[in-house]
């Protein structure tokens, strides 16, 4: 359980009227100090961030305040990481104050790329600007595949309801310790998602590119850099973890049903 004294609030950009008065009143009565994260770095360490938006806002909160637990309220469209919707806000805050929550710990990837390093919550994507490209994939020093297609993706269980869902990869329960690797529109018949052990050291080497072709790296939905032919990306388990708050033990499957009609 978290000892809640100081709390940050991150709002989705370009947003809507947010019920900040309700938030201030309820949390203030519980003796919790509130800092709006749009105003810059908070003046004290935070015990929790409340992210109001969709999954993108959650990713941004995790990126801004590494190591800090996040409670996400859905004011967006995609909400697999959110604990509930805007219409439940009062009830969710009551349960937060009453400590009736569960903390879901999430594995992160560490991505070393040409010119930088990042901690990855959902996935990294290597994607050709257009036309086929090749990526050579090695795991623990052994070459395992040559992917030929629009690109490839490596993600976490958290990312299995993100872009990985579009590639046909499996749904992964959040507490499984693994990574998921898949191709994007491979030009062959042998594409198949691969579930990697969390100890895997993954190396991706970009193959030759055409003169008018670039290979771009995206992390958690954001463009990072282009990766020239012959350059490599290295991935392994991050020493960080993300912490997300939920109020329902079965939130993962409930979210799948309500957002994607999985139950059908």
């Amino acid at each position: 359980m978290i000892h809640l004294k100081a709390l940050g609030v991150l709002l989705r950009e370009g947003g809507q009227p947010y019920p900040l008065d309700l938030l201030r009143t309820m949390l203030g009565q519980a003796g919790i100090r509130i800092h709006m994260l749009d105003d810059g770095r908070p003046p004290e360490p935070l015990d929790l961030v409340i992210a109001m938006g969709g999954d993108g806002t959650v990713l941004k909160a995790l990126d801004m305040m590494p190591g800090c637990p996040v409670l996400a309220i859905n004011f967006g469209t995609v909400g697999f990481l959110t604990a509930g919707g805007r219409e439940e806000l009062e009830q969710l805050l009551q349960r937060l104050i009453a400590r009736q929550y569960i903390i879901s710990e999430r594995l992160l990837l560490r991505c070393d790329y040409p010119g930088g390093m990042a901690h990855v919550v959902n996935e990294i994507v290597l994607r050709s600007s257009w036309r086929l490209m090749n990526v050579e994939v090695s795991v623990n020093g052994g070459k395992i595949r040559n992917i030929r297609g629009d690109g490839m993706i490596v993600g976490t269980p958290t990312g299995s309801t993100g872009y990985l869902l579009s590639t046909g990869a499996p749904l992964v329960m959040p507490d499984v310790e693994c990574f998921i690797l898949d191709g994007l529109n491979e030009y062959n018949f042998t594409s198949r998602a691969l579930i990697l052990s969390p100890q895997s050291r993954i190396r991706l080497v970009v193959g030759p590119l055409l003169p008018d072709q670039t290979c771009n790296l995206y992390i958690d939905g954001n463009p990072i850099c282009s990766v020239p032919a012959g350059q490599e990306i290295r991935l392994q388990r991050s020493d960080r973890r993300a912490q997300l708050l939920f109020f329902d033990e079965h939130y993962f499957f409930r979210n799948l049903s309500s957002r994607l009609g999985w139950e059908a």
Copy 2:
């Protein structure tokens, strides 16, 4: 059968030494005039084009000389449209002169887009520069789907061994009269390829785009234009057909086996 008097030759750009002497000698002895298409428009109507390259060269030949039959010799990497490889050239020319070929007639798509029109041999692709976009699909005046993903594709049976193969669409025998429609990395569970009747009038309307997002139209692998939100693409059967020459009745499945290991 074709009455062969004048013949064009199209070479893959940036290519390799081509056996043009052999070509000139054999065809000259058969009384056939040869025109190199790299030198510009030929001075007389052509009865056939020999394309030396991969599938890209074939597409270019069909585009340059609409209505003219094409015999393709594989000097490239992908060769589903080619009748044989460079090492068989002499034998293929003998069979051409002896009229031992079959002509495969191929359905084309006509694509009307903002600012132009094109005849499509393989496929048209609408693709987001990055992130999810929506395309509303109507057939014969009725809305059938809203595709939400990286984009979408509509192709011909000829295109079923092109980019469509990467999207998981089925293989289609060349003489089936149909079109194929599929999504690209749809963010849902309901994606499924759709086989449309050749009389279908297809209308695609691009949904709202983010400020930094563009939707690009590609035809037969070439970038054509960006399509703004709200604009539409119209597709229907072209009044043109393509004609490809082959020497083996079972060329389609033989090519699948040899190039993609489909037989396995």
Copy 3:
């Protein structure tokens, strides 16, 4: 249009109370004679069969009265071939009498198997009782694949919303002239649906079987016979067609949306 004088009615077995009084009254007033098909062969040629049930009842009607058009009212669970639901019956009959319908002509397969022949509306399935088996597939005299898995399926466009939908095959508009071939749970990476031209002559040869293993043939959902190792099944276009009545030009996509949530 059909000149409607005599009409058969087929009811789903084990069924529910059917509104036969309404049917008799409305059709009687229009001068149409009704024969219940449960009572055996009708005493005169029929101009139409009304099938009340699900897709299974439609298949049975087409089998009992070959060549006779069928109007199907959904009193079942799966209803891709039905023109409307039980709650719309009065309105559907009005439109039938007013000749406000369209007739959808459907391609059938002819299946020659050891010991018999059948006309196939949806699909034939070869399925192992348990464990892997092999089927060698030839088209027009050329071997195209060896399928290794639980079995295989060949179907019509009409069948694309039947069992073929479960194998991942594409949806096919009813007026496309083609057949669809796919494997069942193939034990390899090369499985891909294949769209065959309607002129295809397809030959399936069952490979070696284990001592306790049988390969069973099913046609339109009914068990037909077991097929011993080495025996063959031959498939080609039937000289018959099926005729189904609908009242809405867009019935195919409307049914997909309402029954499978394809629109999403």
Copy 4:
């Protein structure tokens, strides 16, 4: 490392001439006693079983001698669990004696079914004798899906190269701690493999069956029993593990490449 004193040998039934003389000579010189497991229970505890056959023989060895490590030599067709082929036998035995092996520990499933319990190495399958059936799936007390199709499958990472591979499920590295759940030929668009955490308690309840329909349970490829409508199957992590010997750190991907052409 294993202290090797007594060793069992299990041969694939109906087999071929096995090089037992070589085995006896090499192991005898190393002071290891050999017991043929076809002759019944060995007279002393075993330190290792050498299984000569395919994956089926490995499963049988693990079932006969629970807790005992297995070294598998491929004398069969499918060999994802085998450390090498028959042609390498002498070299493999040398490396065994020299202790140059790695031990791969594998998670097992415990399956409680009506009338019994079993430890599962690869997978359990619930499969309809014919036609659609329903299975209700719950995880940790919460209902997550209703599967409607030919049946369903739950397997281990070891099983991901078994029957699960036929259902389109992902490949799973052997040391990932998870289970995999998937449908068999689901009659909808929402089928997607699910990766479950190893702590999951899974409950499967068979839905209503037709009069001529049975639902059969198979464990590791063997028929176990039929499961009546309304009955349940319970699955959770077994307290046992399997131990397999290999001589190459990259055996998993090497086997995929050589046996399924995954490398392509």
